[in-house]
Amino acid sequence: MKAAVVQFPGSNCDRDMAVALEASGADVQIVWHKDNGLPDGIDLVAIPGGFSFGDYLRCGAIAANSPVCRAIVDHAERGGYVLGVCNGFQVLTETGLLPGALLRNAGLKYICRTVGLKVETSASAYTEGYTAGSEIGVPIAHHDGNYFADDDVVTRLQGEDRVAFTYTDNPNGSRADIAGILSENRRVLGMMPHPERAFEESHGNTDGQRLFAGLMGQLASA
């Protein structure tokens, strides 16, 4: 499985993401934001956490207009897999690959702590390692993780089983407790929590491992 981890100038979880993907068996390449295309044969593009271009305006807005993002949209439209975590989720909503937007946390403060997530669906490469309805703990670390979409979109996401994770104790005001959502073809996942920070024993929590393992299994057999 070949994965590309995107590096914007303000990405700061790019290494963490690459470490988790490599440890899960992926062949990882780092892709610079000014690159016009992706390397050949990429199965998965991972957009990591961080502050892509400082995010002083709308998080991910400038990143979504970078050359590499045009290539990522093409990749997704060809049926490629894209995982956006934290800032990556913000970028994905800005590119339009996923609906909705991430607003400032309802409490107006940055929050870094492990939160409870309910796995809402196991019907995706990312979540097939989990049992639908099960609860896991995964760290969040964001200032703008308050998922917003209008009623129609939320109803549609729920109706199409595209809500991947919800918060068990909503930390940021997200509508319908949404922590992560899937694209229509279920190959693009955006989520605010950081599965790569719940990956090894030394993190004190390995609940994120199965997301990567599931992805590897699915993509290796694809």
């Binding site: 700061n12 963490d16 470490v19 400082g54 403060k109 870094c112 702590r113």
Partner: protein, 719 residues
Amino acid sequence: MQEPAITQDLISAHGLSPSEYDRILEIIGREPTFTELGIFSAMWNEHCSYKSSKKWLRTLPTEGPQVICGPGENAGIVDIGDGQCIVFKMESHNHPSYIEPYQGAATGVGGILRDVFTMGARPIAAMNSLSFGEPGHPKTRQLVHGVVEGVGGYGNCFGVPTVGGEVRFHPAYNGNCLVNAFAAGLADTDKIFYSAASGVGMPVVYLGAKTGRDGVGGATMASAEFDDTIEDKRPTVQVGDPFTEKRLMEATLELMATGAVISIQDMGAAGLTCSAVEMGDKGGLGVKLNLEAVPQREDNMTAYEMMLSESQERMLMVLKPELEAEARAVFEKWDLDFAIVGETIPEDRFLILHNGEVKADLPLATLSGSAPEYDRPWVETPPAEDLADVPNIDPIDGLKALLSSPNYAAKQWVYDQYDSQVMADTIRQPGQGAGIVRVHGTAKAIAFTSDVTPRYVKANPVEGGKQAVAEAYRNLTSVGATPLATTDNMNFGNPEKPEIMGQFVGAIKGIGEAVAALDMPIVSGNVSLYNETDGQGILPTPTIGAVGLLKSHDEMILGTARDGHVALLIGETAGHLGQSALLAEVFNREDGDAPAVDLDAEKRHGDFIRQNRQWIDACTDLSDGGLALAAFEMAEAANTGVTLDAADTQTLFAEDQARYLVACNFDKAEALMAAAGQAGVPIQAVGKFGGSDITMGGISAPLTDLAALYRGTFADTFA
């Protein structure tokens, strides 16, 4: 543009005393230009020159086999084996944070991160030690929110995990909060970069963000007392841009890998002036700068403004000219400015040209080396009066008083606002003693702590200074780490007052004795004086930041207490309640002496913990709040109850030093007690973990109630 004439008012507005001005005349043999006056003021202010403290700082132990670089460079460096080292320092940003809390704190974090990556190290951990006025003071809430958000806003975006720190409240900080920022980075021992320039005619390159008018005169401001004109000083606070700093760090580390860097220095206090002078002085060279080449953010900037600007996220480098193209390409990749602004010259000269006009022409070595040095008069702090009687109190009431004070309540409201896990190597997060970060890709880990008990230092500067080091030693020991070295951030009042200078001298003496005895030399540090408002000084606050090594995961003590575990107390309890947390929070008293620190006992007990870690599941040191608070915190972390046999206030709340609380099962407890007996280390069983209550001397309260208090106080006070 016409420069202002040099008048008496202008001289004193630059913080220069008449005798200092006379010295300038003597050095250059003529009246300085306006720009030169600014340069002298920048180099000679307390913040940059350490003129009041140098004499005493020299007495500190700074050497040891583990030390690669002691004080004098951007940060200290300590060896962690396998060709790797940790680069670290702590620095204050007190005055800017009081004036403009968010930006003051943010740029404090930015400055210390730059100090670390300037030396070739990638920052891997940050901490911050914050001291605020009393919680009910009208200014405190705004400062707490602003400072915490500023620390988080900068560090989170930059991408360094914040893994530790302190937050305290005391009326003495009402008019002058303290923000001490610590950063540590990881480097290869053979790839460290220093600031000394070498080679004549080498290009001096400006890197990073553009120069604006922000922070002009900031270091001079930081060296003055506050009064009611403080709001006018807001424009001297710089504005931080962590996104640019992140790019500057990546670009700098990439640049270093190209081999193009001869020497490099970040632009911190007094910006271009300090960095250029320092590189020239350390290399025995002169420096010529052409200011029109400096990337500028604003129009019509003068030489004076450019030389004194404290715009953030900038560096100065001496470049190998043959590698200019490679170096430039790195900065273009990261969209940062790269401008050749001058060159090294053979003569001892600091020559500043702007559009062909000479704006300053000073002897560089003299400018750097002849800063005034004062042997300020000082008086020894008088011995503390004896402690008046302390009545026995209901131990649960005593504990509740501590838990309902923001000083001793859980600080997760603060730590949740810091990204403590970015880089995915954090093993222990803030809020529970020392933080731990793994050395990426190895089995090693580094423990970090920052400590000081200002009440103790005020009562007894020597013992208080020792205690700050001893507590740092114990916090590192409690997670199984071997303490390596220390950085000191000395925050004091006006050094021109003999009693304040006496506090400083006493604290340095205590710190020096302790770091020598505990083998954790001082490798870097910072002095912040004039922390006074309207003549009222802060509590003397020598913050100690310390670093310890864990050679493997097996060395870590990371467990929690369990139902049925024995509570063992290591060390001697004499019942010292002077200057204790209980006294302050329950009786509103700050009397008596600080607890005495027996450095031999500290070393013996610390070594004992490390040598017997196989018997220890959970360990914490005893400090503020004594046995009662330590046992509660250990129980709360494990979500279990604890029963302590003792009932008397002295045993439960005394703050005697060199003590640890350990939790382990009965068999391990027996083994540990046997080992202690052989080692001559005092140990006793003081209670048992289990159940759902906190019980002391037969009086109980439900853990859930006390935990709610402990977890809720901070947010209830400030949210």
